[in-house]
């Protein structure tokens, strides 16, 4: 046994923990229940004193728990974890201090530095997430709140990422107490993997992955070491899909113990609601499943579990109307198989996690309460992870795709050139499947940087909606983008979706996803289908590893900017650079992108993407009277302009500095107008929740001065109200009916902030 003591040291908090034989975390940095207070940076001798105290306690505990072994300080491995607000010098001082005490090994760990990338500094309101590896290849996640109290009751952990609270992520690798001699684990690799995982999942581990619940207290997820676990691999290879669930259960009967229990976890907003995780292969609308209730599910499942213990249906507790649904309460007692039930647009999708194989078996109950197995894919996290880790070995083979990347990037560049007015902010985001390792991702990033001269940001594909976007306070991600175009390959289908930034993590009201496969021949998108089909086939022909996107979190929701707006919002598209794309695929993608552009509300029908079409979208005026007024105003403006120019006796009227200046002002005014309009469009979008709209207001409040005023005008120009900007924005954010409006007469102060504007609501 190699005892490992983990030190957590920061300016504000210090702890010394280990895990006891029951798997509980024991904090020995306390005395009479109270944490020791000392300052890491200022008083080294104090640290030494405490460190000795901690270590002697730890050794005492170890020695008292196992009489056959005696530990001394030189048997100890110390793993330190420093908070990022400790300087490097301070860290080094402490490490030296630890070493000087005769500790066998101080395991280096710079993970906190890595994780910090996602956490804005000086975030006072923060929680701390601990990841602690336990035996049997599993991780347990504990959340520590900002009082540094470990919340051990898993059910009370609120993993709903709150944009106002940043969660600091810390990693602690606890004692690896393993008896296997296969040396399957390679600590560093695991560390890398977990690091990558954390980077991909800032602020939230739980719902991104299929997670088992062990005992109602802890969240766990499984992962596998770098080396392939032969036993599990064999199980997976031998596993064939049964025709129905009863066959499956019968086939497993012999392997099960008589007292085997099943637990059902139902999660989803409500069973009759459209849940935020709409699977990519959804085909039914939410309306079709509204009659499926808990009893239906129970009735459908009960016969399948004949002769077995009747499954326990665990209801979600403390359900809040929100886009995330935390795990449910787990009944006391051990269960062997877990059945996860997720409500989605297709009906109900289930996964069984068997304790014997750790395999997720997806199946669904359709609207007729029939159970169907879903195509067996790389759904289970285990194989994803294995795949990812195995790919470490293939990193050097990645160059073969360089040409394709080149093509893709050139294509993107071309689109930028062709649509400068719409694609005014295009940056290549790389959606990396999570099974790619961090190294591969970095490699791709470098390749792309070289090719397009602009370092793309790596965005793990499944994090895009649920994770990064909600970090509204994080300025590094996606602040400038309104829409995302996603091309996905999943379950033998290509999915294409557009998502708008803000709505993506809300319950989306409409979906814009082409759900395509070669069987849907009658679709009106026949041509598109053909391309996609080619694309798909070519991908398969080319590579067996072309499951780009795994998981169903990447729901393609689109809530378009409403068509009511008089001013066409600037559409900012993100184009997805996919890996391993070939020429046909590229063609398909281009075609698809063109289609998407055409289908955006307010867009004019465009020719295929190769045709240049960069005429700016005119400002559309709804009200004919206003058109006339506008024309008259323009006429008056021109006359005035001419008069002024003639008065100056300047023959070059159009080029006179004054005229140019005025033009610039007009253009500036238009841009301001557009900015205000876009902002109001966002916050008046009735498809978003009021809370989201309120968040949008908080993000953009700098547009206006604090005491800015809004003048409301009627359709006929009658002033009908004067309200403060705060009241007006609040009012708009609570609207439940879509409004059409016109913004005019924007006045700014010297700081460029708007102090007043007029609005006509139609």
């Amino acid at each position: 046994m190699e005892p490992i003591l983990v030190l957590i040291l920061s300016k504000n908090y210090q702890s010394c923990i280990y895990k006891d034989k029951n798997g509980d975390i024991v904090d020995i940095a306390t005395e009479n229940g109270k944490a020791f207070d000392f300052n890491v940076g200022d008083d080294k001798s104090d640290f030494k004193r405490l460190f000795k105290l901690w270590v002697s306690r730890f050794i005492d505990i170890l020695n008292s728990s196992n009489e056959t072994l005696k530990f001394t300080i030189s048997d100890l491995h110390i793993k330190h974890l420093f908070d990022f607000n400790i300087t490097e010098n301070e860290q080094q001082n402490i490490i030296s201090s630890i070493k000087a005490e005769g500790v066998k090994e101080v395991i280096s760990n710079d993970l906190s530095q890595t994780i910090v990338k996602n956490i804005p500094l000086n975030s006072s309101d923060s929680g701390t997430l601990l990841l602690i590896r336990s035996i049997q290849n599993q991780c347990r996640i504990y959340l520590k709140n900002f009082d540094n109290k470990v919340i051990t009751n898993g059910t009370s952990i609120n993993f709903i990422p709150d944009p106002t609270i940043d969660i600091k992520v810390k990693l602690i690798f606890e004692s690896i107490q393993r008896n296997d001699t296969t040396k399957a684990f390679e600590f560093d690799k695991e560390e890398i993997y977990i690091k990558e995982y954390l980077l991909n999942n800032p602020g939230d581990f739980v719902l991104e992955t299929k997670i088992t619940l062990s005992d109602g207290k802890d969240y766990e997820f499984s992962y596998y070491p770098r080396e392939k676990n032969e036993k599990i691999a064999q199980q997976q290879e031998e596993f064939t899909l049964p025709n129905d669930i009863s066959t499956f259960l019968r086939s497993n009967e012999s392997n099960k113990q008589p007292d085997q229990k099943y637990a059902f976890y139902i999660y989803g907003e409500e069973l009759n609601k459209d849940f935020y995780t709409q699977p990519l292969n959804s085909e039914f609308s939410s309306a079709e499943i509204k009659f499926l209730n808990e009893n239906d599910i129970y009735s459908a499942l009960k016969p399948l579990f004949a002769k077995k213990n009747i499954p326990i249906i665990v209801k979600p507790v403390n359900r809040k109307i929100n886009f995330y649904t935390p795990f449910v309460t787990v009944p006391k007692g051990k269960v062997d198989d877990f059945l996860f039930i997720q409500c989605n647009t297709k009906g109900l999708e289930f996964w069984i996690l068997t304790s014997s194989s750790n395999t997720f078996i997806p199946f669904q109950i359709d609207e007729n309460i029939n159970t169907n197995f879903l195509p067996y894919t790389n759904f289970e996290p285990n194989s994803q992870m294995e795949l990812g880790l195995n790919k470490l070995d293939q990193i050097n083979n990645f160059e073969i795709n360089e040409i394709k990347f080149d093509t893709a990037c050139k294509r993107i560049t071309k689109i930028i050139e062709e649509y400068p007015d719409e694609l005014n902010y295009v940056k290549c985001y790389l959606f990396i499947p999570t099974y790619f390792t961090y190294e591969i991702a970095r490699h791709i990033e470098q390749q792309l940087s070289f090719l397009i001269g602009n370092a793309p940001e790596i965005v793990p594909f499944h994090s895009i909606f649920n994770k990064y976007l909600i970090q509204e306070n994080n300025p590094t991600y996606l602040d400038h983008i309104n829409h995302f175009v996603l091309l996905e390959h999943f379950n033998d289908k290509i999915y294409l979706s557009i998502a708008e930034k803000v709505s993506a993590y809300a319950k989306a009201s409409s979906q814009f996803a082409f759900k395509l496969n070669s069987n849907i021949a009658e679709s009106k998108e026949n041509e598109l289908l053909r391309h996609i089909d080619y694309f798909l086939k070519s991908l398969y022909l080319e590579s067996k590893q072309c499951t780009f996107f795994i998981g169903n979190e990447l729901a393609g929701h689109a809530t378009f900017v409403s068509n009511f707006a008089r001013i066409q919002p600037t559409i900012k598209l993100h184009l997805l650079a996919v890996t391993q794309i070939n020429k046909i695929g590229e063609m398909a993608r281009d075609y698809v992108i063109t289609e998407l552009l055409n289908s955006l509300p307010g867009s004019r029908k465009r020719e295929p993407i190769t045709a240049p079409d960069n005429i700016p979208e005119p400002i559309v005026t709804k009200n004919q009277d206003y058109k006339k007024i506008g024309l008259a105003a323009i006429a008056v403006f021109i006359i005035l302009l001419l008069i002024f120019n003639f008065r100056d006796h300047n023959p070059g009227t159009t080029d006179s500095p004054k005229a140019v200046d005025t033009k610039e002002k007009v253009q500036e005014q238009e841009t301001e107008q557009e900015a205000v309009v876009n902002f109001i469009i966002k916050i008046s979008d009735v498809n978003k929740s009021s809370d989201l709209r309120a968040a949008e207001i908080r993000l953009n409040k700098d547009l206006f001065t604090e005491n800015a005023t809004v003048y409301k005008l009627g359709k006929n120009g009658t002033p009908i109200g004067i309200v403060s900007i705060e009241d007006y924005l609040s009012e708009v954010s609570l609207l439940t009916r879509q409004m059409a409006f016109e913004v005019k007469d924007i006045v700014k102060n010297s700081d460029g902030k708007i102090i007043e504007f007029s609005i006509i609501e139609y």
Binding site: K715, N716, D727, L734, T736, R737
Partner: protein, 213 residues
């Protein structure tokens, strides 16, 4: 000194003019049709806002902050002395509350059990509905009444609810009623930072009758 006829007439006119109140000119000021149309549109919007916010506050689905904001904004739709009336269909007791009190009451009730409140405006507001009223202070206001139907349902606990269609949704209600209410809207001139401004405000919500769905 004798004044000639012209002088006498002028003097008489001067005396008459000087006895007229100075703000009499204002008293004659009326809204043009276009102005009244714009203000009527605004009144309709305010009614929508009120009904929407009441639904939001009562449903308790949005965050506390949002509902609170809704209450604050609703209060601003009313005049200072406005009252909102409600009546229980069983006890028939009518109670009147200032808007803020009523809305906060709704919020508190909804925290115990969500309340579905739907409104139906039976007769949309038209500018011709406004009646011009000359006030004793020589000012003018325009007043209109709008009838609405309010569907009020206090939901049962989640585990007691059943799947229902639109026609029998009362099955999921602990209590429900349909109340016919009258909302009074007034348009009046007020001083503002941009000079005098015609403002629309709601002056009260009264129960006409209450009954079952």
């Amino acid at each position: 000194m004798k004044m000639d006829i012209k002088s006498r007439l002028f003097f008489l006119l001067f005396i008459l003019a000087s006895t007229l109140p100075i703000n009499d000119v204002n008293a004659q000021e009326r809204l043009s049709v276009n102005q009244l149309k714009d203000l009527t549109d605004n009144a309709s919007k305010m009614l929508n806002t009120l009904t929407d916010y009441i639904s939001i506050i009562a449903a308790a689905e949005e965050s506390y902050d949002t509902r609170q904001k809704g209450i604050e904004l609703c209060i601003k739709l009313f005049t200072q002395n406005a009252l909102i009336e409600e009546q229980n269909k069983a006890t028939k007791t009518k109670k009147s509350y200032p808007p803020g009190t009523y809305l906060n009451l709704l919020k508190i009730r909804s925290e115990k059990a969500p309340i579905i409140i739907d409104f139906q405006i039976t007769d949309p507001l038209d500018y011709s509905d406004f009646e011009k009223i000359d006030l004793p202070d020589n000012t003018v206001l325009y007043r209109a009444n709008i009838k609405i139907k309010q569907y009020y349902c206090v939901l049962k606990p989640v585990n007691e609810r059943v799947e229902v269609g639109a026609n029998n949704r009362s099955l999921n209600c602990q209590y429900n009623d349909v109340t016919e209410k009258m909302i009074t809207v007034e348009i009046k001139k007020q001083k503002s930072s941009k000079g005098d401004l015609w403002i629309v405000l709601l002056t009260g919500v009264n129960v006409v009758r209450v009954g079952n769905l």
